[in-house]
Every structure is written in structure tokens, then in C-alpha cells.
Amino acid sequence: MFKMALFEGGLHRADELEDLVDDIGGFLIQKNVTQIDITLIIAVPGEDYDLIVNKAKELRGKLVEVPLAGSEITIVAPSLGKHHLPHPVCDISEYIRRNGAVTNVMGLARGVGQRINQITAIEKGMIEEADIAVFSLGNFSRCLRKKTHLFLDIDIPVVLLGGPEQFNVEGLEYYVGGIGRRSQRLRQKYDLDLFNKMVDEISKAVENRRREIEEDPLILEPMYLKKILEENVEGIDKIISPIPIVLNVDGVKVKMPLNQFKEKIKNVEFDGRKIEEYCNIYQSPYSKFTILKIYTKSYFDSLKK
């Protein structure tokens, strides 16, 4: 079982940590260098985690476990207006990122109001490309109740954030109260406690999603696939996005259009088979990125037959 951790420290000798992660069979999920500081998100085997802790201590860096690493989360606001952005949506996004997830922020075109709110099929499709959706709605419980159709029809797990302390509606598993409409940065102790509660709920949602997948496991871990692509596909290192390959719970997303990508992975092989045999490769109709969804073991076996 892998343990995910976030290392923050100086750039000097950070490569020693990267080498150690590689030596013990771990993975480097994300690497961000800002001037003389470095932030690494790593996945290492649980039994060797102490080695990493000791190395981080030696390098005078900070190492924290991040439960959300390896997942992509979309935070959805009712609109992109000043009423909902930048607070609290950007603060929520930042806090989730600090816990290892890759986040996307989106505002619905017509998500506001009680009677007039609506969500389009395109918006739903965009949200469903991530692993978890976090809906940040307002203060009034009556309004939340009238907006359930925005999130109850989404195929991925949804975490709802709203003003009322309690909110129960059939079909909604995860709810965190106390985060409604806000107009200031959420950085007080009380806010951070709420954020911790939110991360706990999101972690539960990610964990449940992973458990669902484990019932019919994937034939390849997304982290392995990421490594194979990084080592064999030319041009990935030249993608200017800070995270060229985004890890999902059931696959990866490469920030390259499919027509370029398919050409490049044509001859990449793993364990005697071509990459195309391990996963369904398609282009996102919205972002034009390439999405690789790894086959489950049962599906893979049926294909072989």
C-alpha cells in the first residue's frame, strides 16, 4: 500500500530525496520548483515511509501526509460572478491543493437563483472528467434544497459545501456546513477547522471511490502508467503546463491533443503489450486533452478471450 506525502523544502540536495523515492520503488507524482524552493508530492511503499521521513529531516524540509494525492477535484461555483469568486471558492481550492489533489475551478453559466438555476450537459460532462466534484453553494437551506438537481445527477461522488450546519437530502452522501457565501479570505482558526472537516469528507469520498475500483481492480496502476508515459513519450517534458500528466483514480490525463499523442505512443510497449491494449484512449471534448482510462481486470480478460 502506497503512502502519499508532500515535501516542502529547499532545492539544494532535493534530488537525493527523488533518488531515494525511486530506489524504494516509489513514484514522484508532482514536482514544482519555485526559485530556491521545491514542492514534491510522492507516493512511497508504506513499509519504507520512515526512510523518507528521516531523509526529509536530514534535508530540513517539511513532510506531511496528503490524503488526496493522485486525485483530480473540480470545485464548482454557481457562477463566476463577484458574489462567489474569489472567496470562498479559491480558498477552498488552495486548501485542497495543499492536501495533494489537483484542482479545477469552474463556474456554472446559470447556477444562481432558486427558480432560474440550471446546469447544462456540457457542464456535467466537464465536471465528470474529474474524480470528485465539490459544489460550493450559498447560505440558505431552502435554496440548497431547490438546487439539488445541479449535483444529484452527477456520476462522480459529490461533496456539497453550504451555509446551514445540517443538510440532508436523499442521494447526497457528503456535506460540510458553515461554508456558505463569504466575502473575505477564510484564514481564521474557525475557517481552517471547517476546511479540515471538508478535507476529511473529500478523503472519505476519494477512499470510497478507490474501494469501488478495487472490487474490480485496474490492470495497471495510474502511477505506473504515468511513469511509462514520462519515460517513453517524447514531448511530455515540453508541455508548459505545471502538471503535464494529471493522475486520476482510474487513469491519467495528458495535457496534449490526441492527434499528437497517439502518434507518439504508437510503439510504446509495457510487459509485451502496447499501451493501447491497457487503456481506452480518447480526447476530452471540452479541454482537448488526452484521457487514458485504464481497463479493469474483468474487461481486460474479456478482451483477451
Binding site: 454557481p78 444562481v112 437563483g113 427558480r115 450546519e165 456558505g180 466575502s183
Partner: protein
């Protein structure tokens, strides 16, 4: 600044007090406001915000914001914020002899200065009212785009909804507008 929220359950009202406070702080108008009334009816989706301004500021005249030197025939303006307003006023009367020598220095004949020194160049209350209006728009829910606005010297009241505003809501807005 006093904030009174009515019509909402206690917890939601508390949340709105915090929200209103934060928005007023963002617009830097807390010190100029005496009272804020907010009424919310989530069932009919009607929201009313009514703001009392503390005091109405006096309009500023040219002689309040600038000093004239008769020997040099030069008007020195305290803040360059007022310069475009003064220049547009002067040029509307005469362009002869009026020249901007520096960012805040305007050369002009003494006769012209005597003619215009009592003219109003800036109404501070107008700016404050604009900010108050913006703040009210931010406080009210985004979907409540249909608005019924009442404005008096020291009070601005806005009733808003996503539906057409009923006569009852208009009457209620009037009541909040006249309330002490």
C-alpha cells in the same frame, strides 16, 4: 455601523451579518454608514437591503480644494484628483489664458478665478452613494436581478427578486425605507 437582519432563521441571519460586515469593509464605507437593514424571504425569493448614510458631506468648491496665487496668476490644486474636474469647468467657460503648467498647477487670469471660485467641483455624497449602491448589489443574491430602488438624501433601499416584484414587496421596501 449597526446591522439588522430580519426574516431569516437565526443561523442564516448570523451568516448574513458577517457577510454584510465584510462587504462594507471591502468597499471602505463602514464609517460612513449608520445602519443596514436586510430582509430576506427565501420562500418568495425577495430580498430587501436598506442603508442609512451617517451624514451628508458638503459639496467641495474650487476655493476648498485649491489655492490661488494672484501674483503668479497660478491655481495650485491640493490633489490631482480634482484637476480634471476643475479644467473641464474652466474650459467650459473660457479657454483664453487657461493653461495647465504642471500636474496640479493651472495658470488662469484673476478675473476668471473670481468668477469660478464658488463653483462646485465635487460632490462626495455622490461617490459614497455609488459605493453604497455597489455594496447593496453585492449583498443581495446574484440571481435577484429584478430591482426596485428607492433613494433619498440619506437612505438607499433596494428590493430585489428573480421574479417580478409584487406590490406587497414594494410596500415592505417602502416601510424599510422610512424606518428609523
Amino acid at each position: 455601523m449597526e446591522i439588522i437582519v430580519e426574516g431569516l432563521p437565526e443561523k442564516e441571519a448570523q451568516g448574513y451579518v458577517v457577510l454584510i460586515n465584510d462587504i462594507m469593509r471591502e468597499f471602505e464605507i463602514r464609517r460612513s454608514i449608520e445602519k443596514v437593514f436586510f430582509y430576506g424571504d427565501t420562500e418568495n425569493f425577495v430580498f430587501i437591503a436598506s442603508i442609512r448614510i451617517k451624514k451628508v458631506l458638503e459639496p467641495l468648491r474650487i476655493e476648498d480644494v485649491a489655492i490661488y496665487n494672484p501674483e503668479k496668476e497660478m491655481l495650485s490644486v491640493e490633489d490631482e484628483f480634482y484637476v480634471p474636474k476643475i479644467l473641464s469647468l474652466l474650459w467650459s467657460l473660457s479657454k483664453e489664458g487657461v493653461e495647465q503648467e504642471d500636474r496640479t498647477e493651472i495658470k488662469m487670469p484673476i478675473e476668471l478665478y473670481n468668477r469660478v471660485k464658488g463653483e462646485v467641483v465635487y460632490y462626495p455624497t455622490d461617490d459614497l452613494k455609488k459605493n453604497v449602491q455597489e455594496a447593496i448589489n453585492r449583498v443581495l443574491p446574484e440571481a435577484a436581478r429584478i430591482k426596485y430602488i428607492l433613494s433619498a438624501e440619506k437612505t438607499i433601499t433596494v428590493a430585489s427578486s428573480e421574479n417580478a416584484i409584487s406590490e406587497d414587496s414594494k410596500k415592505l421596501a417602502q416601510k424599510y425605507h422610512e424606518r428609523d
